[in-house]
Every structure is written in C-alpha cells, then in structure tokens.
Amino acid sequence: MRSLSLLPLLMLVAGSALAQSPTYGLGRTPTAEEIRAWDISISPAGDELPPGRGTPEEGALVYQRKRCGTCHGPEGEGGRADRLVKRESGSAADPWAWGRVLPIRAPYATVVWDYINRGMPLNREGTLTADEVYALTAYLLYINDVIAEDQVLDAESLPQIEMPNRETWAELPDWKPGMPRLQGYPY
C-alpha cells in the first residue's frame, strides 16, 4: 500500500523532466507540492480539504481572537458587515426565509469552509490556519443550529453535514452551444 501511494508522486517527479505538452512541447509538469499549494477550491465532496480539525467551542475563541466580531458583530449579528446568523423568519420547511446568510443558506458545508478560508478576515485574507477554518466553520454552523455543540469538523465529517438547502437550490441547465437561455422563453 505504502509504495503504491508514492507512485503518483514519483511519476510527477520523473515527469517534470519531460515536462511538456504533446503538440507544442510547451509548459512543464507542476510538482505535487505546487498543486497542493494552489488547490483551494473545495468540492462539495470535500476532495481538496486539508488535514486539520475544529469544534464550535474552539471556533468561538478563534472568532474573538481574529476579531471577526468587529465587522460581523460579537455573536454574528449587529455589525457593519453581513450577518452570520439566520433570521427568525425561516423554518425547516422554508430554509430560504432564514435569509442570505452563508452558513445557513449554502447547500454544502464545504462552501462555508472555502469562503472563510479564501475570503476572511477581510483585508487579511489567507492568514487563517486549516484548524482555525475548521473551528470557525463549526462555530458558525453551530450558532445556526446546523450541528451540535460537541461535533468535531475535519476533512471526513465536514462534507457529510446535511445543510438545510442541500436539495432546494436550482441547478444550472446543461449548457450546449447554440442553446437559448431558457427553453420556451422567447426573450
């Protein structure tokens, strides 16, 4: 098993000498490390999630330490920036009425992780560790009643969270060349 898992790495290292596209002979093969460093868009299946872990309780502390509250309010509301807790108006039967609040509206918990990881804190993007992002995600999902207080989030558990909007959003139509915007719509 061990030697098998090394195989792709070895191939990459060997490949980087050849390193070129077949028709034009340009470009080079990126190393596994280079790919890992840039591979930050997270699939709903969680493929790209890095190692790490965090709980809601740890997340509450990170939220304070990283001063998320200065923009979003001490408990996710009442700040200058977007609220991070759902509105009263929603219900399990009508999750959209909870408002456009990422940690409740996102159909996949990976979207919340991805957003915080690349986008927050504003003006200090890219400064959070993986553990901190897991913890903050756990905290925001907890204050929105999506997960329990003692749930540990990691690369395994995060993609399995059932977000209330998992099935309720409209997928894009399967785009084909020459396709009108919407079948049966003349405009």
Partner: protein
C-alpha cells in the same frame, strides 16, 4: 441649399440611406454655421505624448462609479469597486481600454503582477497537469476576437439618468489569446469531467465553475486587449474570456484551471445561488439587449431636424441579426441599419435615420440574435411570468429589457422607465 461642405453634399447624394419617412424637403440648411475663427492653438510635443499618446483635452468623457451614489472608486484605501463606461459618448463598437467598465467581486486591491513570475496551472482530471509561463502562452497559436463583457448588475431603473448609469456596465473590446480548448487538449481532459473551476490571483482568489462544453466551445485565455497587453483593471497579465456569459465568469488574473467531476459552487458561484430554476437559467448567459446611446438620457437635441439615432446591441446567444427602432414609444417599429459586421457575442453598432418634428416622443430599440431570441419590454417579461408590472418588478435573471428614452419638446432626453 447654400452649404458647400462636402459632408453635406455626400449626405444629400446618399439619399438611399434616408428611405423611410424622411423627405428631402425636411432637411434644413445649416444656417448660421460658420467655420471657427480665432487663433488656432497647438499641442507641444512632450516625451510622454510621443511615448504613449493621449486624447484631445476637448474630449472629456470619463468613467463613473456604479451604481450612482454607491461605493466610490477609488475609496480612501485605494480599493476599486464598480465603474461604468460612458456609453453615451461611444462611437463604433470598441470600448477604449481606458474606458472599459470595471467590476470586482468585492472591492479589491488590484494585484500588481510581474508577468515574468505569473503562471497558469491546469490540473485535476487531466492526463498531464501543466504549468505555463506567459512566454509559453504567447508562443501558442493565438486567436483575436471582439467580445463584450457585461456585469450582472447592468440593469436600468427609473432613477438612473444616462446611458452610462443604465447600461454602462457593459463594454466591448478586441481580445487576443489562446483558445482554452488548445490548453485543455494539451493537458488531456479525462472522461467524466463536465466542469472546470477557474481561479484568479487576487486576494480572494475569485473562482467560478464553467461548463466543460463552454470551455471547449469558445473560451479564450486572453493576454491581449485592443492591440496591447491587458490592463491591470482587466486582469493583467491573463484573464479568461467566457463569451456571452455574465461578467463574473471572465476570471481576472487567471492562474489556475482545474478540471473537475461536478459543479463546485465555489466563491463566485455562491452569488448565483437561487431557488428558482428560471432565474438560474436566465442568470448566466446574457440575453439579446440593446440601448440607444444617442440621443440618450441627459443629452439635449439642439432643435428639430435630422438625427442619426445610434446605439449598441449585443447578445450572449451569438451575433445580432436585427435591430429595430421605434420613435413613437413602441407603437411602430422599423429596421435599423447594423453597421459593419455584427460579431458573435460582441457589441454591434446600429444607426437609424430620424427627422425629429420637435414634438415630445419616446425612442426605443430592440434586437434579435442569431438564435431568434428577441429583446423584450419589461411588460412582455412580466406577462410571460404572469406577475404584475409595478415599479418593483425585476426582470428574472439578467435584465435585458428595452430601454425607453423620452425626448421632451425642448430637446432634453430622459429615462422613460416608470
């Protein structure tokens, strides 16, 4: 007919262009117009003017923040938000690079990228992950195409006064780069990969999911714009062109393309999230759309007589096939002339000969694209979806409705959206 100006003579000879409503007798001689007198100034050459020219000081058309009254650009921190193109002053189809609209996912500092250091990585479900330098990309076979880009927020409202305020978040440029299909074929796309994720270099690494069918059809990895390198505001040194799709897909500062097995709902995709399948479908490919740029809101007609009504038409569905103009508030429509060739997913310039009788009226334009999609009025869209047409009515998805301009009897022009 005392005028001896050659332009005027040509105009009278070219009477065919006036067919339809305009009689010769209606053309009044341009009395009282004399050649300018007074001392003629001159422009002294400077090193800057020789190195990289500039327009006449009498040409003052500029971009403005969008929406009017919204977040200023730049703000106190040097962040750039949305800025709109002065369409009311535009001629032809190309937007000068300096006047091209700018959109950012949220206010962003523009990354100051050294092209020597820039890389484009293609990986994921491919046989050969590849990293290209800018030099590599410029060695590959290139294409040059004219395409518009339009921001999702480009929507007219009753409180917007000028064509810049109503429609200035679209622009059209000549783009040069490598077809994305060439790069994907070099990398060798594996079976079962229906999407790609494209990602930028700026602080949030803005990213979008794009259907593989679109990527292979006509997407462009562009380094050139209007005959020179991209501007930093347009993604220097590399941006993705996704012709006809909403602006946000045109990933700036492009550094990574990942071939993937599903829709990722990544950073920029989240903004498209909706419950409504119609809004989702109408939310990414731009519909047939046009606007009269002259005469348009805020302009003044000096008096009755001849005018060439001029405007722009475009569609995410392909080339513009037909433009019609109404000078009576939409009661009757006549074909306008499309100037030159209408390129696919590009602005097309149209003109329409009009003799204004000096009475208040309303001007409108509507276009039809190569798919047969027709630009609707707001009333037609409301009727289709069976919802009331009030001031709060919003066209679902990207708003491509007809823009009416009211010409008052004093020659002033106003937005006629109620």
């Amino acid at each position: 007919m005392g005028s001896t100006r050659p332009g005027r003579r040509g105009f009278l000879k070219g009477g065919a262009a006036l067919a339809g409503g305009l009689t010769m007798g209606a053309v009044e001689p341009a009395l009282g117009q004399t050649l300018g007198s007074g001392p003629l100034g001159y422009i002294k050459g400077t090193d800057e003017l020789i190195a990289y020219g500039e327009r006449s000081r009498f040409v003052t058309s500029v971009r403005i923040q969008h929406p009017p009254g919204g977040r200023p650009s730049p703000d106190g921190f040097g962040l750039v938000f949305h800025v709109a193109t002065p369409l009311q002053d535009s001629v032809g189809v190309i937007t000068p690079s300096s006047l091209h609209f700018v959109g950012t996912t949220r206010g962003s500092f523009m990354p100051d990228i050294d092209p020597q250091e820039h890389r484009l990585m293609i990986h994921g479900m491919v046989d050969r992950p590849l990293t290209f330098t800018m030099e590599d990309l410029k060695r590959l076979p290139s294409v040059t195409r004219t395409h518009f880009i339009e921001c999702a927020g480009n929507s007219s409202r009753s409180d917007r006064r000028t064509a810049q305020e109503t429609h200035g978040m679209t622009s059209c440029a000549e783009w040069t780069g490598v077809p994305l299909s060439v790069l994907l074929e070099e990398a060798g796309v594996q079976d079962g990969a229906p999407w790609i994720v494209c990602e930028g270099t700026e602080e949030v690494k803005g990213s979008s999911s794009i259907p593989m069918a679109k990527a292979m059809e006509d997407c462009l990895v562009a380094y050139g714009m209007n005959g020179e390198d991209l501007r930093a505001q347009q993604g220097f040194p590399l941006r993705l062109m996704v012709p006809g799709f909403e602006g946000i897909f045109h990933t700036k500062y492009l550094r990574r393309i990942k071939v993937v097995d599903r829709y990722y709902m990544t950073y920029n995709d989240y903004g498209h999230l909706t419950q409504d399948p119609d809004a989702a479908a109408l939310g990414y490919q731009i519909g047939p759309k046009s606007v009269i740029t002259y005469p348009s809101g805020g302009q003044e007609l000096p008096g009755r007589g001849f005018y060439e009504i001029s405007g722009l038409a475009w569609s995410g569905g392909g080339a513009i096939r037909r433009v019609e103009v109404s000078t009576d508030g939409g009661q009757s429509w006549s074909d306008a002339e499309i100037k030159g060739t209408a390129d696919r997913m590009a602005h097309a310039r149209f003109g329409f000969s009009w003799n204004w009788n000096g009475q208040a009226t309303e001007l409108q334009s509507r276009c039809t694209d190569e798919l047969g999609q027709v630009q609707p009025s707001r009333a037609q869209v409301a009727e289709f979806f069976e919802v009331p047409l009030g001031p709060s009515f919003r066209v679902p998805g990207r708003d491509n409705s007809i823009q009416p301009w009211r010409v008052a009897s004093d020659g002033s022009v106003h937005n006629a959206i109620a």
